[in-house]
Amino acid sequence: MTMLDELHQTCRRLLEEGSVKVVIGYAQSAPDEPAFPVFIDDVADVGQLVWNEWCLANLTKYLLRKDIRALGKPAIIVKGCDERALLVLERESQIDRAEMVVIGMACPGMGQPPQAVCGGCDVHQPRFCDITIGEAAAGDAADTRYAELDAFLKKTPAERMAYWRDELSRCVKCYACRQACPLCYCERCIVDKNRPTAIDTSATLKGNFAWQITRAFHLAGRCVGCDQCTRACPAGIDLRLLNLTTAKAAEAHFAYRAGMDRQAEPVIGGYSEQDQESFIR
């Protein structure tokens, strides 16, 4: 039985026995096209669900949306990386795991070729799901998670600044990065607050820098690296580098990786008297 058959069978059973009202999963309009989210509330439609290398999106964002919550108790399909977001949301009291069924899919890596998107991934196998389907091969032996960032940091600060000036000049402040991010869940984002205006809202370089610094830092120690923001960006700005920076810093300084350990105390929000730095005189 393929993983897809098993997935269909599981979802049919969950819907038939009424333990969930809706299944949040992936569907495709044509093969070789990126999958989009579907919300299946009828057993007859379960056949629409797909599982292949095009299931890139992180669906956990939908667990927070009021319109989706109104559909009733959900079952959600997650990959190992999406599950990390789920753990952070749980830790931050945004979701109640008892109020959902989490279906974990063992993931060989997404995209074509998978290495391009998922190189260095070490969470191919979901670990905390209610139902886990499939068995993933062990991750790559070499740790290449931060390879892209390390290569970028070889540039001089002036070159880096020039790179970001060029990249962020394309930003149109559509806030798709924020909307797509499962961990950007503030009811009212700081950029929408105007008494006083903390961040210049115009789509100029000044506003774009301020916004991207804010967005990246509000995810510091929380970002799970699902790349939803980068995929959502219509201007094709590689926001991964910013997210990788804070993730790497959190791991290097505090041995913390968001969404890996259910018990670990989040980096921001906690502190230790033993925190080490050398830059404060």
């Binding site: 600044m161 210049d200 510091a220 959190a250 502190y271």
Partner: protein
């Protein structure tokens, strides 16, 4: 009798500046740093950097105050912004300082263990550790962002830190790279 009473009457207060006059974003520090010689006059004059110091109310602000009461002279380039605690110093304030024309930023508060609110400075320290790395990836000049612990008794240290930062920033020149971003 009536004469003295008249003398005692408080003079009418000067009109307060209207809040909301002009956009907040258009507010800039007086005299753009890109024309440093305008105030000093002519070529060859020394560049005077603008430095914003975000300090906590309980330690560094009192340290600066002590420097003043002890008549310790320190450069007038520093603009002190007093906040309740280093834990209150939002990273956006640092970005904002550069946006409005600062050439360097100092963030300073109580020594570890001395926080008036017990742990504000520990929280702040953690944030700065991560924030500095983010700014580094963005290519922002790290030599322009300074952090220090200055207690209420360290007027001398405040003087030294501010003098050092001013000298260093004067050497580096205005922070054109970020100011250009904010003008485009």
């Amino acid at each position: 009798m009536s004469e003295t009473e008249a003398i005692r009457l408080p003079s009418p207060p000067a009109p307060l500046p209207q809040r909301g006059e002009g956009s907040r974003d258009e507010k800039r520090l007086p005299s753009s740093p890109d024309q440093p010689s305008a105030a000093a006059g002519g070529e060859g004059s020394v560049f005077e950097p603008k430095i914003i110091a975000y300090v906590c109310n309980w330690c560094t602000y009192l340290g600066a105050d002590l420097a003043g009461t002890n008549r310790l002279e320190y450069p007038a380039n520093v603009r002190i912004v007093r906040l309740p605690c280093t834990g209150r110093i939002d990273f956006n304030l640092i970005v904002k300082a550069f946006e409005i024309g600062a050439d360097a930023v100092l963030v300073s508060g109580c020594h570890p263990g001395d926080c008036h609110y017990t742990a504000g400075n520990y929280h702040a320290r953690r944030r700065w550790i991560l924030f500095r790395e983010l700014l580094d990836t963005l290519g922002i000049e790290m030599d322009r962002i300074h952090f220090s612990w200055i207690s209420a008794a360290e007027g001398k240290k405040f003087q030294q830190v501010v003098s050092e930062i001013t000298a260093k920033t004067r050497q580096m020149g205005p922070y054109r790279a970020y100011h250009e971003i904010c003008q485009s």
